[in-house]
Symmetry: D2
């Protein structure tokens, strides 16, 4: 079954490979009447883009989003919206020499086990480049969010919660990489969004985050710390129509309460490093992956993740907002 669609009502189907002709997505289920122009995507794409900071990979991609369908006179028509990002800086030749090497931490091994074939050029479909389409789709999703504000930021790089620059410079000098943690805050969320049981807000956000390359964990509100808390502390008491605290992180029983939503996502260190690693050839023979001075990589993938985290959260809430129109008979008949 296809695994490249995200969302139920606001449905994004993405496609494309790192070193193919380009990448893109089709958004099916976006209401008619949404204002869209190609310039809207530039700033969001720039935040995610490699080569944006001294600490991210040097691949030079303009990442210009082209609208191929679904928009007429700058307005969505209800038809599927197709966003296309051409690949302009792929250098397939530079991957020829590693085509038979299983790259540690990468998709080669598991994809070959599953499909029996792997597009090794820059990781093909498994490349982090795929996340560019998520950011593009998120720009459209944000048009449906009304007053909701989603903000994600890096709160930890390696073991450190501050002075990231120093950590990163050292890691680059070592030819190594580090992980990081992103925190995301969502404000002005109306109460009553999300669905019970299997489609809880946390469940959907968790799937959204863990679907991002290199994400290894997610927690909501007090998260893992809540395990050590007592109910008398964790329960949010109410008075004069308001919650007195927000340990529940804006979600009760999987549905929003109107309080601020907070979650954190952990990202592992970049798999591509410049240190020699033992690995196998696809034929099974032992080998070592020699450091490649010119290989593209980020010292810390988390640096580019905030734009992706925000985009995925926007997709989740665009979906919940649309679906909420069917919650009550009184709504559906108006």
């Amino acid at each position: 079954m296809g695994s490249n669609s995200f969302g139920r009502q606001f449905k994004v189907t993405s496609f494309g490979e790192s070193h193919g002709k380009g990448i893109g997505c089709v958004i099916d289920g976006c209401p008619a009447g949404v204002y869209l122009d190609e310039q809207m995507f530039a700033s969001a794409m720039k935040r995610r883009r490699p080569g944006f900071s001294p600490f991210t990979s040097p691949r030079k991609e303009e990442d210009r989003v082209e609208i191929l369908s679904g928009v007429f006179e700058n307005t969505s028509t209800g038809a599927p919206i197709t966003l296309w990002i051409e690949n302009k800086d792929q250098k397939s030749t530079s991957y020829e020499e590693v085509k038979d090497v299983i790259r540690p931490g990468h998709a080669n091994f598991s994809y070959l086990k599953k499909y029996g074939i792997f597009d090794y050029r820059g990781g093909g479909r498994a490349s982090a480049r795929e996340t560019a389409t998520r950011v593009a789709a998120g720009v459209v999703a944000k048009q449906l969010l009304g007053a909701i504000v989603i903000q994600a930021k890096v709160i930890q790089v390696g073991g450190y919660k501050e002075n990231f620059k120093k950590v990163l410079e050292q890691v680059i000098e070592e030819g190594d990489s580090v992980g990081g943690i992103i925190e995301c805050n969502i404000k002005n969320v109306p109460p009553g969004l999300g669905d019970p049981i299997y489609e809880k807000v946390e469940a959907n956000l968790a799937k959204a985050m863990l679907s991002i390359n290199a994400c290894r964990g997610v927690e909501f509100g007090d998260g893992f710390d809540s395990a050590a808390m007592k109910g008398s502390l964790h329960n949010d008491q109410m008075e004069n129509g308001k919650f007195l605290t927000n340990h529940h992180g804006g979600i009760l029983a999987g549905i929003t309460t109107g309080e601020e939503i907070t979650f954190r996502a952990a990202f592992k260190p970049t798999s591509s490093i410049k240190k020699e690693m033992k690995t196998l050839l696809t034929c099974g023979a032992n080998t070592t992956l020699a450091p490649k001075k010119n290989t593209r990589h980020d010292p810390c993938v988390a640096l580019r993740a905030p734009a992706i985290v925000e985009a995925m959260a926007a997709l989740v809430f665009a979906d919940f907002i649309l679906l909420s129109n069917c919650d009550k008979l009184e709504k559906t008949l108006t």
Copy 2:
């Protein structure tokens, strides 16, 4: 849109309320030829059941699973399998007096905002009782897992990693509750299971876990700790056909590698406690929820979670195993 179905190929649709006639689920997409009888469910149900240990709530439910459809002469026929658990110990009267009270940490508030109506009897659909149907469905799912072994256990209660008994006795004495952490290990997983991009193994397991009441976070492999690690340490090198370490936790690029899968899920403290809490009436007026000596509750919901965590993981893998039959043309044509 319905939010009560889980799974793509092996699809479970659950239904029922805490104090209605009963709860159950329909499993659609189970292959024909699976052996099933009603006795198979007893031990799994017992692990999750309230009143099972001195530290869980006193509700006395036999939780006997009845097969209503889909099985002929103890064999699945390919027709939808319906599992039904009758409610036998519901005492609605005991909820009349709190019907207008918004119970802190519970679904009343958010459900009323969403639906404008709430079945307050024991939490109705939002009750943890719903998880009994997950455990029952998991018993069927496990029949599809072949050699895969899924084991979950409590590794932390409150702030403590050992001597849980002492912590729990103290909490009960205080009329309070604590959270906990569950670890789940999955062995003998064939490589190549799971799907790329939005349907990664972690993404599906994360959604499965965060869909469980009271779950506040999940992490895979080294999880949040991986954020502090360097790539040279986190990357799993290979030699002589084997991984030398398993920091990746059995999953690369969202697809299984054949190594053991490990994840942890955090659960918040039980919301129902015997301490007085400030809250509101549904009309908006201030009130306090007086401690109820006879109210059913667990001091630590995590104690009953292992059976649920295993069941949800089984649903995820039953799905992936069935879907894996469509990975390669050579498979689909045989």
Copy 3:
């Protein structure tokens, strides 16, 4: 993949066998606030029920619909609504002797090829009894239709468009059966319902009709006759804000125009007859199916079809009405 769910937003999952404990369905996605009580189902169920007219099979089933979940104080809560119909008149013994016979026109052959197992008791899951759950679900769906009126009637029995009684008496005397044609008219349909491309109104109604046992064809508006028409005649001209004709049958480009919708569905003759037929045993050996005087069967399945046709049409429109809330941004934000 499961094949027992119908609908996208208003989703019905049915289950149960002809001679099992009963049959039922789960409706997931029904808005909260819909009035429901068990008495509402009686008249609709009666129309479909066997033994209702002298011309339908003698099986005596009360077909009482019990609500197992999703309704609190006669109002839907947004939780899945489960409808259950107990089997009370199953006589499995009467099927023992035909258990190894492939019944012409029935499911035995194809189900055995697909699943390798077949619940032969009254056709098991393939029995027309399954349609009772469609009628029950349709009763709930009709609560969402507002002013829309759906009416289906038999317009042809065998080759005859009138005096059905005479045709049926003759067929019964012969121990034979005949087919029939149902016409369905849908009035007061708001314009703008339905979706383009793959989810056109006709496409969904056609799937709904052809999913009913014994249905062999469906046509909309002028249907097959339109093939012989010229565009200048078939095109519906407009004047003074109105369509001057309705050859398009209330649907243009898959979306409703507000004009009356008309379609016809053809049903083959009942497969169960009292005449001797050549067939095979499941082992492959030749045999003949001897006429069984006491076997339950209808001389014309089409006679019971109107209630089913209306129910399926109601499911289709309940879905479209709910989904239409997401057509325009201006709607979704209110």
Copy 4:
């Protein structure tokens, strides 16, 4: 909810407008290992293409299919396959003058009611041009069909079953159009394909056909004629391991029997004609649509339909073949 996806396991999502940059589709769920090259599409596209016969519209589109993703070294990788057809002969200017006219038989009216906006350039998303993506997707689907052969042909044009040329020449001279009927035969279908209840083979083929522009009806096997038949004639008796007749048209209880499948689809006359028609302006005022000598149109849309009918049938069977791998436990575990 999106309405531009077709299929469950082999899922096609199409996009694009008649006079936008182009049209295309994403195929998600195609197994890895399928041979594909861009030349494979040419002949199928040519059959559907306008301007192909003297009797079809003069729009000159090369309809060259470009593969944008999912294929590496001429082999599918399991990643989504994107097919793209650039629009090269769109002349938007020629539509400016009818932008405010509701074209009889076309989508303007119903789309405006639904979405409040309509891309009037050549019908935008509602154009028959969209069917080109179905034909392209069908070429990929056919790679999964093994020995199955799908053949559709025109069996009736207007009221005539032969000498179509004469009918068409006369209609063109009149500036009018006619409908037609397509018959499709599917050979070498393995028994056991398709699913029970709501996903019957007929149900899926019917939805597939009625989703094609201008299709007004579909019938299987003896179709509408079966309504006039008696069971003793319609039932297919068996002897020596074989069916003696094939009134059931290769499908029993929604599942294939291995016999040849036959169905017919009726298409209404082309809506675009050169005769004056009364209609409305979008503002509601009366107007007439003056004959346009240079407007593109086909005298009979059915002439181009066989390629589309075959493609949609191929999508249905590719899906059933993939899904059939999950029918039995013995299959899924191998």
